[in-house]
Symmetry: C2
Subunit: 220 residues, 2 copies
């Protein structure tokens, strides 16, 4: 079983600091929601986000959605041979039950994320709980932890897929944010850090390619 963790994901409900900004209150009024329950989204709340610390790593639920779909639409996932977790930058984990298909429509995904982050369900198709990357990995108990980062050592997808496929329950972490790097805390939990391409690539592209190469190996 391959464990894929979309880590430090740019997915969060509205932070308190900007809850009264016009771009947020207008969005809340227009959509009939409480401001605090909205997902932070740069395409809507850009003007408010300039006040936020670490703003360039935040507010991109669209990228998280895209990366998630590129994992869950694959034969590997649909055959129950991959498990997917979203770990948010606020240390909230969304654990998808094996073979669960998240919505392809962005608005349905957004509503599902808002509901999940609000209700924190302890069972069902998506379980939600607070946990750091380190503690999540302790729960999963992987026999190899690989972080994908432009700062890592060079490897091809094929080489990496061969190493992962030789393990019983490896974990792969991909950044769920648009720019920047993993925190030192996250990096500290990796056994290896690997760079699969010479330039920075969108997480969804890396996930699609790596899963495809993993599928080429017969599973134990």
């Amino acid at each position: 079983m391959l464990n894929l963790i979309i880590a430090e994901a740019a997915l969060e409900t509205m932070p308190d600091e900007i809850i009264r900004h016009p771009s947020v209150t207008n969005d809340a009024r227009r959509t009939g929601n409480e401001p605090a329950t909205l997902l932070l989204d740069r395409s809507i709340h850009h003007a408010a986000m300039v006040r936020l610390g670490d703003q360039f790593k935040r507010g991109r639920p669209d990228l998280v959605h895209l990366t998630l779909l590129n994992a869950t639409s694959t034969p590997l996932y649909q055959d129950g041979l991959a498990k997917v977790y979203i770990h948010t930058r606020n240390d909230v984990v969304l654990e998808f039950r094996e073979r669960t298909r998240p919505p392809k429509s962005y608005s349905r995904f957004r509503d599902l994320m808002r509901k999940s982050l609000r209700e924190m369900p302890e069972s069902g198709l998506i379980k939600v709980y607070e946990l750091s990357v380190g503690a999540l990995l302790k729960n999963i108990g992987p026999d190899l932890v690989v972080g994908l980062s432009i700062q890592g050592g060079s490897s091809s997808y094929e080489e990496l897929a061969a190493q992962l496929s030789a393990k019983r329950s490896p974990a792969v972490l991909v950044g769920g944010f648009p720019r920047g790097h993993f925190t030192p805390e996250t990096t500290g939990s990796f056994d290896r850090v690997v760079r699969v391409y010479k330039r920075s690539l969108d997480a969804h592209v890396v996930v699609a390619r790596l899963i495809y190469e993993v599928e080429k190996h017969p599973r134990v």
Copy 2:
């Protein structure tokens, strides 16, 4: 240059037959738009769509977006070695200038598509014109035309990529719709029809994998 055509795409503005249905008029009021300019979207207009012919192939701009992004986020496309066209089921072609990056945010993509279909720009980053698949292929002048379909002959991504890479300007057509098959008219323009997997797969998965394999070949 690889020419990728997302064909018979489930992307269209609101068809006349359902323009007065409550799910459409409510959507128009809520978003402050004319009903006729909305994109048909099953996740919103489901109740209205039961009246439409061929309904199961229509109203999925989310799938078109996902497939487009899985092409345009790749090194092949970003290096100017792939060109992408969306051909809609109404024979409208959206031609993306090489290296153009479409928006990752679905709402921005939707607004861009609405604007493009309304204004039919003849130049710029996206050119829009009316053309059938056959006439579009005549314009492109490919030296090989491959359609991807579960009804085709079996091939691996590697084999197909090798064949495409041996050509100067091949065209690959992938269905931009959620279910069903290409029309006979579209199928009639293929040199070959190829099935890359034993089960039906989402177009975005096939596109991601095929482009990745094409990248492994040195370009002429």
